[in-house]
Structures are given as structure tokens and as C-alpha cells.
Symmetry: C2
Subunit: 318 residues, 2 copies
């Protein structure tokens, strides 16, 4: 995957060379801090690979790629304020390192900078990519709101959950592919197919995230195993298992020792078959994503790239 | 000013008929609440009047007008969170009525909805109006950051203050006029002239705001007279007066009774000539705004409309 490495290096160089205005430093320092904090750069990689798949020149979509990463980091910054998270990628979050007003305003500015980048050098495609980007932004906000609403509900269904992660996580991956494809002169139909591939991949990705939070390898997972259980987070595992064993409610809400709670709940996940069901869903969505690739007229080299991204996102261990 | 009344009714009807999605209610209820909370609708009025001035049909820019009001209300919503303000237009602010996460997310959504509206039906002008809108958004955020930075400084100069209010308040009025003019097929030169008119008007408007906070008529002002003094807000009056009488610092920071403080400080504003200087600046910027109108090739009816808006904004008593 020489091309994938090349795209990865390219996007990192581009993000490091963003020219922020000098003043006011209180506005731009937190933006640089957030953008340079690392991350997988999955979204710009998808965008550039999608552009390349149709025109062989990923550089054409460089502004849009930086824009989509800027947007993603804006959502992380504001989500961390809303969730009161203190750490992100091993560093203090912006509202902890600076303050909340700074986190809100820097995030707002990142959203506007992202819009600017998406429209930059888009030429006759401007109206189209701006429209796709803004519709995605509305959907992601709706997903975040559903996620917050679910915290207060005990009757969330699996379908509601899958729709929430589609909105909160997947449509951004879909948007990255669609905008990249359009910048590479794909037909609207092919751009939509690549978008749908990424949406399925995103659902598999998020379900895998849920799975690893409980059943990941502690040595490689990075976070404490069982965090979702301790936070009573409405994940696919919890929703499926609760529908099969109502006693889960009281265990999740009890104040037994953390390790006991994690062990008891994960045992129920296995016993009720929720774990198997979750693995089945991950397989279902990643296979659907791979199948969608077959319908798109791109080179086998490009298909291999997307298959490897699906593999890394959905069937990963870390 | 029959046209001005017509435009006012039109924009209110359009804002009331925005079709919000039903779900998630937790996201859209606060947006409707904010938008329907009233306000002068100054920005969409400027936008529509600008469009009308060049093409005689203000309806052409209806989406952009709703978009600019949506944007303005987004800034109020997030500013209220940052400033921890509990009331706005006589009603509890969103972060008080709902909660802070809701205020952040609803505001983010309003910014994206505003971007959508600005680009809607803009046809071949899309790239241009989107670019003007995004550049404005960055400047407004910079202005808000400077305003927050100034709270912690005692050496803010008048020039710095004027630049801050240009960014925080004026460029949005300028953007409204420029986008309206472009939607009405104005030349880029005329659109820029109308923008500069509104920027000067906005500076006069903000200086008048500062002036009325201390010297307004308590019967008509709506808020408590002297609020800026009690909050030690860096206004033009305080900055000018401090440069002429350094003792002001200690009075502003002292804990003498509120009424004494307001009386003492406003006496110094008058004695140092800061009050006269502030009135002179208001006159200077509103006259500059009126003069700019002369350079623009629009009907005398349209010029009268803008003159009346300048009059109402900058030479008002309430």
C-alpha cells in the first residue's frame, strides 16, 4: 500500500503547514494544538483515496481533505466540552488546558475554517461540495443529540442505536468519500456508491469500537477495558443483552466494585449471545461495504486500498 | 418607509415559517426558541434592502437573509454561554433553560444551517457569497476573542478597541450588505462600497451602545444604566477617560456602593471630555457611512432607506 502511505505523509505535512494568523493567539493556539494532536487521519485519507480512485491525482482535493479533518477535530473539541472529558489522545482537552469559552470559540472557528477549506479551489463543484458538507454537518449534530438523549433513556432499541451511530459517526466518513470522488470527477452515482460504502464501514467501525471497549486486549487497547460498562453507556452490546436479560439494568446501575461489575456484565454479554450478535453485525456491515466496492468502476488497485481501510477500521484489534 | 416596513414583515414571516425537522426535538426546540425570540432583524433587513437597491426585488435574497439572521442568533447563543449571561431579550438563555451541552450543540447546528441558507439558491454566486460569509465568520470569532482578551488587560488602546468592535460587530453588518448587493447583481465595487458603509455604521452603532449604557434614559433604555461601569467593561468611554485620568482604575476596581461608583465614574467621563469624544466618534462614523452612500449608483429611494437605518442605529436613544 505505497499509495496509502504516501497519502498519509501528504496529509500530515499539509496539516502541519496550515498558516494560522498570529493574532489573536488565544483563538488559534488551541486550534493548532487540536489539529496537531494526532489521530488516524482516517477521514482525509478516505477523501484523498476517493479522489485518486477517479482521477489518479489526490492532490486536487487537498483543501477538502484538510477541511474534513478540521471538521472532525471541531466535533471532538466540542464533544469533549459537552461530555466534560478531561483527556484526548493522551493530552488535556482544550477546555481543561485553556477554559470553556476558549474551547467553544476555537471550535466555532474550526467549523468555519472547515467550511472555507471545503469550498476552496472547488471551482465549478463548489455548490455541490458545500451542500454535501453542510447536510453532513446537520446529520452529525442530530446524531450527537440522539446520543445525549439516549443517556437518559432505558428503552433505546438496536435500530435507534444503529441510526444514531450512522448519523454521529458514519455520515462523516461517507461525506469524505463523496466529496473526494466529486473532486476527482466521479459521476454522481459512483460518488454516492462510494459514500454508501463508507457509511457501512463506519457502522462496522463504531460497533467494533463498542466491542473492543469490553472485549479488547488490555495490552493494546490504550484505554481501560470496561469503561463503557462503568459509564452505563448505551452500546450495541448493552442494548442487545438488556433485551434478552432484564436483570442487566440493575447490575449496570448498582454500586458493586468496578471489576465485579465489568466481569458480571461481560459474562451476561457472552451468555445472552449479545457478543456473538455484535460480531455478526460487524461482519454484516463490513461485508456490505466490501460488496458495494464491486459496483463501482474504479481500478483494482483502488479497490484494494478501500478494502484495506475497511479491514483496518472494522476488523481491527486496537 | 413603506418598503422598510414591508421588508420587516417579510423577514419575520420567513423566520416564523422555517421548517425544522421534528426530531431530535432537543436540538431544534432551542433553535426555534432563539430565532423566534425577536430582535431588531437589522441584519436581514440590511441584506434585503441591499439586494433591492440593485435589482428592485428583495425576495431574490430571502435564503441569505434568513441565513444571516440565523448566524447572528448563533453568535448570541454561544456568546451567552461564554459570558454566562442568564437572560436575553427578557427570556432565559438556552444554557439556562436547557443546559450547556444543548446550547453548544444547537449553536453549532445554527452555524451550519446558516451556511446552508447562505449557499441556497445562490446559483452562479455560490462560491462568492460562501467565501464572503466564511471570511466574516472568522473575523467575528477573532473579535470575540479580542473582547475576551481585553477583559484581562488594563492597557487597551482606543485603536485596539475600535478594531475589536469592527471585527465583533461591524463586519457582520458589512457582510449582510455585501451579500445582499451581490444577490441583486451589484458590481463587486458597489457591493464593497455598501459593505464599507455598513462597517462604519456598525462602529457608530456599537459606540452608541457604549454611550447609552452610561448616559441613556433609564425610562427607555431597558437595562440598568451603568451596567458596563459595574462590570468594568472596557468601553470607548472607559478607555478614553482612563488615558486622561489614571485614578479611574482604582475607582472602577473599588467596592464602593454601586450608585456611588456609577456617579463617580460618569462624572469623570464628562470631566475628562471622554463623553464628548465618544459623541464626536459616533458622529464621525455615521457621517462617514452617509458619505459612502453618495458614491454608490442606487436610487435616491434606496439611499433614503439606508440613511434611515443609519439614523436609527447610530443616533438612536434606545
Amino acid at each position: 500500500m505505497a499509495l496509502l502511505d504516501e497519502i498519509g505523509d501528504f496529509i500530515n505535512t499539509e496539516i502541519e503547514s496550515i498558516a494560522y494568523p498570529e493574532k489573536p493567539a488565544g483563538l488559534y493556539d488551541p486550534i493548532r494544538y487540536t489539529l496537531e494532536g494526532g489521530g488516524k487521519r482516517l477521514r482525509p485519507t478516505l477523501l484523498l483515496a476517493s479522489c485518486h480512485a477517479f482521477c489518479g491525482d489526490y492532490r486536487r482535493a487537498v483543501k477538502q481533505a484538510v477541511g474534513i479533518e478540521m471538521y472532525h477535530n471541531f466535533t471532538l473539541l466540542h464533544d469533549d466540552v459537552m461530555d466534560r472529558s478531561a483527556m484526548r489522545r493522551g493530552k488535556p482537552t482544550v477546555h481543561v488546558k485553556w477554559n470553556e469559552a476558549t474551547a467553544i470559540l476555537s471550535g466555532d472557528t474550526m467549523l468555519t475554517m472547515a467550511s472555507q477549506l471545503i469550498a476552496e479551489n472547488a471551482k465549478d463543484k463548489t455548490a455541490n461540495v458545500v451542500d454535501i458538507f453542510n447536510r453532513m454537518g446537520i446529520e452529525v449534530a442530530e446524531g450527537q443529540q440522539f446520543d445525549m438523549d439516549f443517556e437518559k433513556r432505558d428503552d433505546v432499541t438496536l435500530d435507534e442505536y444503529l441510526e444514531m451511530i450512522r448519523l454521529k459517526t458514519s455520515v462523516l466518513l461517507g461525506c469524505a468519500c463523496e466529496i473526494g470522488a466529486i473532486m476527482g470527477d466521479a459521476s454522481p452515482e459512483d460518488a454516492a456508491r462510494l459514500r454508501d460504502m463508507a457509511i457501512d464501514m463506519g457502522i462496522a467501525f463504531q460497533l467494533q469500537d463498542d466491542y473492543l471497549d469490553t472485549f479488547g486486549n488490555p495490552a493494546t487497547f490504550g484505554k481501560r477495558i470496561g469503561g463503557d460498562i462503568l459509564n452505563a453507556k448505551k452500546t450495541a452490546l448493552l442494548i442487545i443483552a438488556t433485551s434478552r436479560d432484564a436483570s442487566l439494568h440493575s447490575i449496570i446501575k448498582s454500586d458493586i466494585p468496578d471489576d465485579d461489575k465489568i466481569r458480571k456484565v461481560s459474562d451476561i454479554y457472552v451468555a445472552t449471545g449479545a457478543t456473538d450478535e455484535c460480531r455478526r453485525l460487524i461482519g454484516h456491515y463490513s461485508e456490505k461495504a466490501v460488496k458495494r466496492l464491486d459496483e463501482i468502476a474504479i481500478s483494482s488497485e483502488s479497490k484494494a486500498i478501500f478494502r484495506s481501510i475497511i479491514q483496518k477500521s472494522a476488523v481491527r484489534n486496537v
